[in-house]
């Protein structure tokens, strides 16, 4: 059927009714005046000398108006509307492009931040481990030096001790020889004294 017809047609009934009422309402008083009855409506006077030319000029004016509107005036307005539509579409495209660009930039920035964070983390880790390694090596060197110093000190102590012990035996032997000489008046056999001192030192635990 006609998809568009019902809406306007329903709508038309009212004005048509209105106009019919208006026509009846207005023609009645007009008809009451006798002067009209003789002449009738000028619109229906087909014998009027201007009746035909009126329509001929109507056709000419309407045709010229149609021609001018369809080929000159309406395309001008249409052009302006098209121009605006194109401009709006262009602007929308530009805006869309800018948005994608901005989105890309944001993504890039996020990526860069993430990368920077990761690299910073890695650098911090590397620095910490390097510092740890250095500290470990430094402490190892220090320990080694200290160990060496301790060992040296130990050996020095041992040397001093043995030297002291050796000196003690000499002093003891000399003292014993001197004591024996003073007591007996005769110098004792050095071999015998030495043996006795050795035995006495061994008894006290000093080899």
């Amino acid at each position: 059927m006609r998809p568009m017809a019902p809406r306007p047609r329903m709508w038309l009934r009212r004005p048509a009714f209105l106009s019919a009422t208006a026509l009846v309402g207005s023609l009645m008083p007009a008809a009451a005046f006798a002067a009209e009855a003789k002449e009738g409506m000028p619109q229906l006077d087909v014998h009027h000398p201007l009746f035909v030319s009126h329509i001929v000029w109507l056709v000419i004016i309407f045709a010229v108006l149609y021609r001018l509107l369809s080929s000159w005036a309406l395309p001008k307005v249409g052009e302006v509307l098209e121009m605006r539509a194109a401009r709006i579409a262009e602007d929308l495209d530009a805006a869309r492009e800018a948005k994608t660009e901005a989105d890309g930039a944001v993504a890039e920035l996020t990526q860069a931040t993430r990368e920077a964070q990761a690299s910073a983390q890695a650098e911090i880790g590397a620095a910490v481990s390097a510092a740890k390694a250095e500290a470990a090596s430094q402490s190892a060197v220090l320990n080694a030096r200290l160990d060496a110093q301790i060992a040296e000190a130990d050996s020095r102590i041992a040397a001093a001790r043995s030297a002291a012990l050796g000196a003690l035996r000499q002093v003891a032997t000399d003292t014993a020889a001197t004591v024996v000489t003073r007591l007996t008046g005769s110098e004792p056999d050095s071999f015998t004294v030495d043996n006795a001192v050795g035995a006495a030192l061994a008894a006290r635990g000093h080899a």
């Binding site: 001929v56 309407f62 108006l65 121009m83």
Partner: protein, 251 residues
């Protein structure tokens, strides 16, 4: 224009007369045709001066021109369909020719060419010829199936076909009489009430005071006639669109 002899010459305003002096008279150019010319020039001027700024953000006149263009364009597309684009200039011309004729007729001392049945019938005949030619061009002989709806019982054909043909042929008649009657009614009422004002004022002091009422009625009538001017132009155009829709799509 009330006659001196206390009669109301309500129909005198519709009389054709030569216009544009000797040159117009020699080619039988009438006062009615003069208003047609003015109407056409106004429409052209509106579009020309409206489209001239070519602004992206339109001014008032440009907005008006674009509104006219868009309004009629959308009416064509919505009513006729996509084929409406081809008929847009015709519908535009028709609508604004009728609208300008109606509106110009409301000015004092002007002439309402849409109040002539010969003018409205010529336009309606143009519409119906165009509609028929379009239908024949698109559908060929199939067009005649329009007069017998598909699915109707064959027995009723002798009844349906004449009814459909009469209904088709009465289209230009109703189209032209609707516009003509509306404009005549409005202008006769103007004339009658205006004559009342003059006649009552001539009757004395009481009449002069009472003449306010027909005067007020006429003021209200101007507003009503403005509505009718737009409405009837719209009706003429939309009915043409509907007929064209029928021609393009048949049923």
């Amino acid at each position: 224009m009330a006659a001196e002899a206390h009669t109301i010459d309500a129909l005198g305003q519709f009389k054709l007369a030569p216009a544009l002096g000797g040159i117009g008279g020699s080619v039988n150019f009438t006062n009615s045709n003069l208003m047609m010319l003015v109407a056409g020039l106004l429409v052209l001027a509106l579009l020309y001066y409206g489209a001239r700024p070519r602004a992206v953000v339109p001014g008032r006149l440009q907005a008006l021109a674009e509104l006219c263009y868009d309004g009629i364009y959308n009416m064509c597309i919505e009513t006729i369909g996509d084929e409406g684009k081809r008929f847009f200039p015709f519908i535009f011309t028709l609508f604004f020719f009728v609208l300008m004729g109606n509106l110009l007729g409301l000015l004092p001392f002007s002439f309402t060419f849409t109040s002539h049945i010969s003018v409205t019938f010529a336009l309606a005949a143009l519409v119906i010829v165009l509609v028929t030619v379009v239908a024949l061009r698109i559908h060929g002989m199939h067009f005649f199936s329009y007069f017998f709806p598909a699915g109707a019982p064959k027995l009723l054909a002798p009844l349906i076909i004449p009814v459909e043909i009469i209904s088709y042929l009465s289209r230009p008649v109703s189209l032209s009489i609707r516009l003509f009657a509306n404009m005549v009614a409005g202008h006769v009422m103007f004339e009658v009430f205006a004559s009342f004002v003059v006649m009552m004022a001539a009757a004395g002091a009481v009449g002069t005071v009472a003449a306010i009422f027909p005067m007020a009625l006429n003021v209200a009538l101007v507003g009503f006639e403005l509505l009718v001017a737009f409405l009837q132009a719209y009706v003429f155009a939309i009915l043409t669109c509907i007929y064209l829709h029928d021609a393009v799509h048949l049923h």
